[in-house]
């Protein structure tokens, strides 16, 4: 029993001296292994007198547990040290590039269109699309545009050679023909946005492109008012350009709305005090709009004495140009990945 006391007294220092896991294993074999004093004493328990046996047995168990605790603790320390050393060797320069998965980007125009559409679906609008090669009737006549209107000239509108020459066919100059088509196909109430490509006989310059995107909005119902138009566009401006935006409507002219207006928005960059973005005016011209002309409603068989509505049309490129400081419309159609990548 004294040997045990001695063993216990020396063990902590000896165990702590074990410098690595191998040394600890050797020491463990000596202290608690098959040939250790503990193991031998255990094996000899049967030979002890019956009255001593419980006392010695308890003592052996106690010593063994103490030693094992010391050894286990030391082992966990040494294991951690060993792993630390391995990890230190495993060190790399994380500033080197990672395995970057290639993920593409949605085109800035699609992003813009989707974002605008989502604002209006949030207000309960549906989404429609229509033909890009369109009958002149839908593009002009159904929209109260007189046969002599200059926008019909070949200098403004691209016509296509297709079908019966008496049904003049063109590349739609705005998304507004879908006003008539949608109302022909759907009963009121109508709340719809129509995003899509539109075309003009304009050569590419910083603000013009023969191909561009418009997003048309149309709401026709009982009791739709000019105030509703104003409130709807104000909501849009705040969602898309920031909650601080104010809008104003200025009288304007379109053949298919009456009253007609142009929506101006307080400049997001200077909040109306005047800066480069808004050419010093504090306001940015954004959207053509107005109350649907009764002739347009009557042309599709809607009763203009009971129904009223508003319509608006915005350029998707314009929205993106204003918001992102894009100064040339070519950036939308060159598909330069160095440009596309910038818009997340």
């Amino acid at each position: 029993m004294e040997a045990f006391d001695q063993l216990l007294a020396q063990a902590p220092a000896r165990i702590d001296l074990a410098g690595d896991l191998d040394a600890l294993a050797t020491l463990e074999a000596e202290l608690v292994g098959k040939k250790s004093l503990i193991a031998e004493t255990r094996r000899g328990l049967g030979r002890l007198p019956a009255e001593e046996r419980p006392v010695v047995g308890a003592r052996v168990h106690e010593v063994l547990r103490s030693l094992q605790e010391l050894l286990d603790h030391r082992r966990s320390v040494l294991e951690r040290v060993a792993e630390d050393r391995l990890l230190e060797q495993d060190r790399v320069d994380v500033s080197l590039g990672g395995y970057e998965p290639s993920i593409g980007m949605h085109h800035i125009l699609t992003q813009t269109v989707d974002e605008v559409v989502d604002i209006f679906t949030g207000l309960g609008y549906r989404v429609a699309s229509g033909p890009e090669v369109e009958l002149a009737w839908y593009n002009f006549d159904a929209l109260n545009t007189p046969p002599t209107h200059p926008s019909r000239l070949e200098s403004d509108t691209l016509y296509v050679e297709y079908g019966d020459p008496s049904d003049e066919m063109l590349l739609r100059t705005h998304t507004s023909p879908m006003q008539a088509r949608y109302m022909e196909q759907n009963d009121p109430p109508v709340y719809v946005v129509v995003p899509g490509r539109t075309f003009r006989a304009d050569a590419l310059d910083p603000t013009h492109s023969p191909v561009f995107y418009q997003i048309e909005g149309l709401a026709v119902d009982e009791n739709i008012t000019f105030g509703d138009l104003k409130g709807t566009l104000a909501h849009f401006a705040r969602e898309f350009f920031g909650s601080e935006r104010k809008i104003r409507l200025m009288p304007h002219f379109f053949p298919f709305t009456e009253p007609s207006a142009e929506m101006h928005m307080s400049c997001y960059a200077c909040d109306g005090s005047g800066c480069r973005v808004c050419s010093g005016s504090g306001w940015i011209e954004l959207i053509g709009c107005g109350m649907v002309d009764p002739n347009v409603l009557d042309a599709v068989g809607y009763d203009s004495s009971k129904l009223s509505g508003f319509a608006f049309g915005m350029g998707a490129e314009r929205m993106a140009m204003v918001r992102h400081g894009i100064n040339h419309i070519k950036h939308f159609y060159e598909n330069d990945i160095r440009v596309l990548r910038q818009f997340t």
């Binding site: 989707d114 559409v117 200059p150 490509r197 509703d228 200025m250 009288p251 002219f253 596309l340």
Partner: protein, 799 residues
Amino acid sequence: MKLSLRWLKEYVDIPTDDPLEIEGVFASLGHEVEGFEVLEVPFSKVTVGRVVEIEKHPNADRLRFCRVDLGDGDLHEIVCGAWNFETGDIVAVSVPGAVLAGGLEVGVRTIRGVTSHGMICSAAELGLGDDHSGIMVLDPDTPLGADFAGFVPFPDVVYDVSITPNRPDAMSVIGLAREFAAYYRTEVRMPESKPVTIDRPSPVEVTIEDTKGCPRYVGWQVDGVKIAPSPIWMQQRLRASEVRPINNVVDITNYVLLELGQPLHGFDLDEVADHKIVVRRARTGETLKTLDGVDRELDVLDLMICDGRGIVAFAGIMGGEESEVTDSTSRVLIEAANFHPPSVMFSSKRHGLRTEASARFERGVDPNLPALAAGRAAHLMVELAGGEALADVRDCYPSVIEPWTVDLDVGEVERILGVPFDRDAVVDLLSRFRMEVEGDSPLRVTVPTNRPDLTRPADLIEEIARLHGYDKFPETLPSGPAGGLSTSQVRDRRVREIMVGLGMHEAQTMTFLGRSELDALALPDDDPRRAAIRVRNPLREEEAYLRTTLLPNLLKAVQYNVSHGLSHVSLFEVGKVFLSAPDPDDPRVPDQPIHLAFIAVGDTGARGLHSTPRATDVYTSTGIVQALFDRLGLQVRIRQAAPAGFHPGRAAEVLLAEEVIGTIGELHPAVGRAFGIEGRVAAGELMLAPLLADDDWWQLEAPSTYPRVEFDLAFVLEERTAASAVVQAIQAAAGDWLESVTVFDEFRGESIGEGRKSLALRLVFRAPDHTLTNEEVAPHRETIISAVAEVTGGQLRGV
């Protein structure tokens, strides 16, 4: 149009001088100001003086030495190079210290040995015109010694106002003055339009042959005009409106056009043969040399003004050379007519002639304005050109156009605008726009004839809203529609998201193609994609056709990126193509299906130092399509094929429910080269609609919790046997427990013989309800082997 604020203020009181505030009023009335320019007095310290003596310059023949009285008791000695003035003339004199237009400071200078204490100024030196030819001789009543700044039309503000096409009445100073008068609740001061006349019969005969094209023609004769420059104030106003001053008579016609909005023409009456004016359509073969010096061949729809000999002017657009007013003109015939807008528009477009006159007639000029405007011009010719206006005026106006009425229900105003307006408010607003309102319900509104845009209640409601102020309406939202994206619209977005997730950038390319791009695709002559719809008036021949395929423009976009140094480019586009077949939903228009196309070149895969790039090839295409359809939950079949434009051995058709919906693969190397792209080009083009079809909701298949049994099989096959055929044979024969079958090796070698290949496949079996044993699976193995042999002729390898 551009106009001078001083001019505008002559007709209406505007209670502010702040240019920005005035701009705001223009804009709130719907007349957008594109910009404005503040014009200050262009000189300082210029005094009115009288030339007292003129002597020859002792040392220079071309110069004169003058003594000038500036009213200060001294005689100022000034050397002057101009010869157009005499002793006693009143002139503008800049004394030392004065600053002239352009910033020149006047000092005491010695000119050829004679000291000059200032300058006698020309119009150009004072910024009052372009005339450098002589000094400016002033009105003899100009007070001596006064600061000349008090006699020039400065300071001023010139506004550039954009007038919407529905408002021809506002294309004039008086028209805009009326808008301001309505806004500020005041009256317009009309200019004097009743000349002092003399009773002498006029020999002029006016005949209108085409009263539709010309509803009215007023001819007013003014005799004895003396052609000279017009006064500075008039020149300044014309110049502000970007009209070049010519002489007093021509300037007066232009001035009245800008002032009242009635285009006028001045004929030299002595050049009008037989004093006859006939308004008629041109005849085939007739020509006219217009004032711009161009000989024009006329169309039978062109409306002309003729005299006893022939054509003298293009009605409503431009005069002819022969009868124009010249320096020797003394008898003037003022033409103030009304022309049918479509007629003027037709001729103006056809001949590419746009003038201040045509711009107004195209939109519609008040038919009741000509007499007033002709009177105004005659008055000015009497006052400013010394003319005698004859009282004997021609006015052909066969059917007088009267003001019309519009019935307006007051309740309708609130229904559209959303804000209550009572009768008094409506009457107030409309009458400020010069409308007469009677009655109660409805209101009977009489519209003046200069407002052709006001014919319906909606038009009047706009006027009410405009004058009330758009900014006074509240912001409200319509109540409670229900909407959102349709299933196919959601799936459309999902397609794009998957493509983006597959590492492709979305592109938006132009809708137009040139013939050469279709040729470059190497399509056979009868390929429907060659039957592209042509644009009748293309901007350029390279943009003369509508795309039948997205690939050419996408290839150009890829090439653009490659040429800017990108080693890997992978683009996709979703967009319409245009086919010559009719649209199934609306046969009046061509079919315009939406396609999804993609192109990838260069090494693909993860980027980064330790990443291994992978070359792009046909498997890039098949992999993209497989992944896309898999993520959409669609069973796609890729069937080897040789579609036009593709590599004959590395392309396929894409089938969905046994319908071919597109082609994918590697493009033919010649096609890549035609677009300037080297190396393998992975590409594909699919119809989008089949991918968006609205199918039933997917029902969960819970994954089995039991372990799997797997084994490998290798088959020796003929070279041309498709791996997919083997896989399909296995799938058909393997029974319900087959979880997956994957080709993991492809081998060719002597051991299996020439023209053959070996495919190794891993088959995984798993039951949903118990642990499979090898014994259970073994019979399937045998069935599979014989099925593969039967379907493909493949023999189990190594048996």
